[in-house]
């Protein structure tokens, strides 16, 4: 079937099978920041924004994403660089495979709440698994990012 999606403010049209997930579609269209870490909606590596809200693209049908603003990390470079710099300064990027999904969630969090508590950060990002970092470095980076914004 024919769909028309709004991806990073660009119109993308395609003929697809109705059962195609948004994740498969985005990767097929070479939005490679969208990763696949599982097939059970557990890892968060496939996160994208739908109208600004983080969702698991592996659990959304491409068809259902019509009419929403879809944002992948490719379209969020500036924010990713701004927050990412703080993660990089902790060395917490590590293998990087979870990073795009994690960054999507972090961007959404700070848009929603510019001054989240430590606990809120932890809860908001709890669906983003990371096997390398032990999470502490990611937390340190986000806390420093939050605190410097407060003083800036």
């Amino acid at each position: 079937m024919r769909i028309e999606l709004n991806i990073n403010s660009r119109k993308v049209c395609a003929d697809i099978d109705p059962d195609m997930t948004l994740q498969k579609f985005l990767r097929e269209k070479k939005y490679y920041s969208v990763k696949c870490g599982c097939e059970t909606s557990n890892c968060g590596a496939c996160s994208v924004l739908l109208d600004g809200k983080p969702v698991l693209s592996c659990s959304v049908l491409a068809v259902r994403a019509q009419g929403y603003r879809i944002e992948t990390l490719e379209g969020l470079k500036e924010e990713a660089e701004e927050i990412g710099a703080f993660i990089a300064d902790e060395g917490a990027d590590q293998c990087g495979f979870c990073n795009p999904g994690f960054m999507i969630a972090a961007i959404a969090l700070f848009r929603e709440d510019p001054e989240p508590s430590d606990e809120k950060i932890r809860i908001y990002l709890s669906g983003n698994l990371c096997r390398c970092s032990g999470y502490e470095g990611q937390m340190r980076g986000l806390i420093k990012y939050r605190d410097q914004r407060r003083t800036a």
Partner: protein, 763 residues
Amino acid sequence: MKELKTVNKPVRKKDAMQLLTGQPVYTDDLIKEPCLIIKLLRSPHANAIVKEIHTEKALALEGIEAVFTYKDIDQDQERYTIAGTSFPEFAPYDRLIIDRHVRYVGDVVAIVVGKDEKTVGKAMKLIDVEYEVLDAVLDFRQALDNKTIVHPESNWKLPVDTGADVKRNLLAKESSSMGDIDEVLKKCRYVVDRTYHTKATQQCHMEPFTTFCEIDPYGRLHITSSTQIVFHIRHIVANALHIPKSMIRVSKPRVGGGFGAKQTAVSEVYAAFVCYRLKKACKLVFTRKECFTASSPRHEMQMHVRIGADENGIIKGIDLHTLSNTGAYGEHGPTTVGLSGHKSIPLYGKQEAYRFTGEVVYTNHMSSGAYRGFGATQGLFAVESAVNELASLMNTDPIELRLKNIVKEGEIMPAYFNEPLTSCTLDKCLIRAGEMIGWKEKGQRRILDNGKIRSLGVAIAMQGSGISAVDVGSATLKLNEGGFYSLIVGSADMGTGSDTTLSQVAAEVLDCDLDHIQVFSADTDISPYDSGSYASSTAYVTGKAVERCAMKLREKIIKAGAKTLECDPEKCEFDGNTVFCEDKAVSLIDIAYTSMVFNNEALEVSVSNSSPTSPPPFMAGTCELETDPETGECKVIEYAGVVDCGTPLNPNLTRIQTEGGIMQGIGMALSEDISYGVKGNVIENSFMEYKIPTRMDVGKISVEFEPSYEDLGPFGAKSIGEVVINTTAPAIQEAVYQACGKRFYELPIKAEDIALAKDREEK
């Protein structure tokens, strides 16, 4: 010593911003279209012979390119191993690409190739397989001399004698000892005698096993894969396909985590086989379920420990017997078992006798492989838990008991191949880990006002730095136009940041900014030989190669400068930018130019490095646990880890490595379970069932370093990657005991076990 400018500084990883902005840098982001999709049809039986397999319907499907079965593989040809190891290979040659005899639930029955995932998925369902189902060995304690022989075939082969007796399902055995352990233990006032069990925990690298293959412009097979071992992959694929090694090129892009899993050719051989047969580009990406059920997890082990101390609290001897489950294939079985003894027993330096014996058996489980810690993790869980129990038995503080007994710098370690301990601050690590958790102030057990129990536990650990007299690390450095350097290595940065730390070593020696070192890893056509990134070898073995290589290049630069200046090189100096000779000077940029015009001397150096010894890094870990006595739920409040990795090459990265290792250890101790259904299938086959810690489960992780200086390492460095997973399970086991009064001898320790244990006690 000269003050360090780049080494030991917390610089950013060179690839950090690329990773954090989601750039396409992993294998599956780099495939070229058109690309065929490969999927593997797997056995539902733990032990069976494929009687017949019908592929006609699948092949008739539009878009299906090929279906390969055992009929496409000569069943009598020489077998091969998928273990990445150096020569001599201790791994048995026990695999065929498709074996008519399937040996675990998940073993490959057919390789299906087609234009897209959906078509291939459909085709898989159209394949009919008739099996002759055989009895299976599903308990490794009953593997030895079982009437079912896992490898009855006549072309099973062992390149090196491991003491195997394949008709008994025995893959390897080993033993080492000093003195008369039975006699020594008999005389001990206190003896703990226990049996421990650890399971086949999963690495859970977030990037699944992924391989892309294509035929290059010269007609060669080019494999791009998420691997830790490009050179071993070349060797393995050549053996599996029976083609010359010269026909194979292996490249590794960014790797999304490995933790040892990618030290085995889990996915590569299938993709290489398809590509070489069809001469078409293709890729194989494992599903997460396949990563859980047909991969290369930690070896399940059962360890029987006897440990004894005299009336003064001196540990006189340790006797350890390990039984290890290699699963259906041998891979790293013969090499992991030894570490359970060689990296636990040597921690205690006052022993009069010790004995280590180990046996590795075949079963019909998924085969095991390398996972961070590589046997040491299992052995240390057993030995350290036993030491904690010994302390209880003696009514002594477990930190004090250890301080009295641990090995010290300058001593010889009999249970560690008699290697001398050249650098060690374990005593300081232990004291500091105690301080950080508030050991003395808090006491090992206290009850909070809300009825919950806070308890403390401790453990220590060691690992190695590369494999003594085996591992080879190499580096090539060249000076380029503009005065920057290329550093080319064959080790694999799998997220550890080794590309960056190795660059730091080069920058330090060459007196330049880190930005002036451009690093490349790893490709068999380009990189100098490296055994690969495993066995905690990269920082120490390859790091030293980089240091020596950079020193040589320095000399060459000085010589080239001296030639331009027409001076004696002995009188020249190089400050990173300029070569000086008295009042004359020539810049590095000019030297680089000179090397590009009428020049017969390449400003390029390659160096290989091996180490006769494997200096151990050390760690002490303490934890504070909160247990709800009603539900058994226990949470890690804080874990404090203090590490001696020699000089931390990059304190940010060594810290994150430690935090990550502790987190994986918490999973192993409390939530990551592997169990099998009656047919031998792994139950925990997704992140739904196999529970790795989320950020809500790890509590606070505090990490510090107590640097020693290892002369053989680059700028005093030892390894970091593996030792950091080893203290967590035994420290938590002790804290659980302090909380609930019961000792658990099997991992993971789950809330329900704690709650039930209490109920049973009350009855």
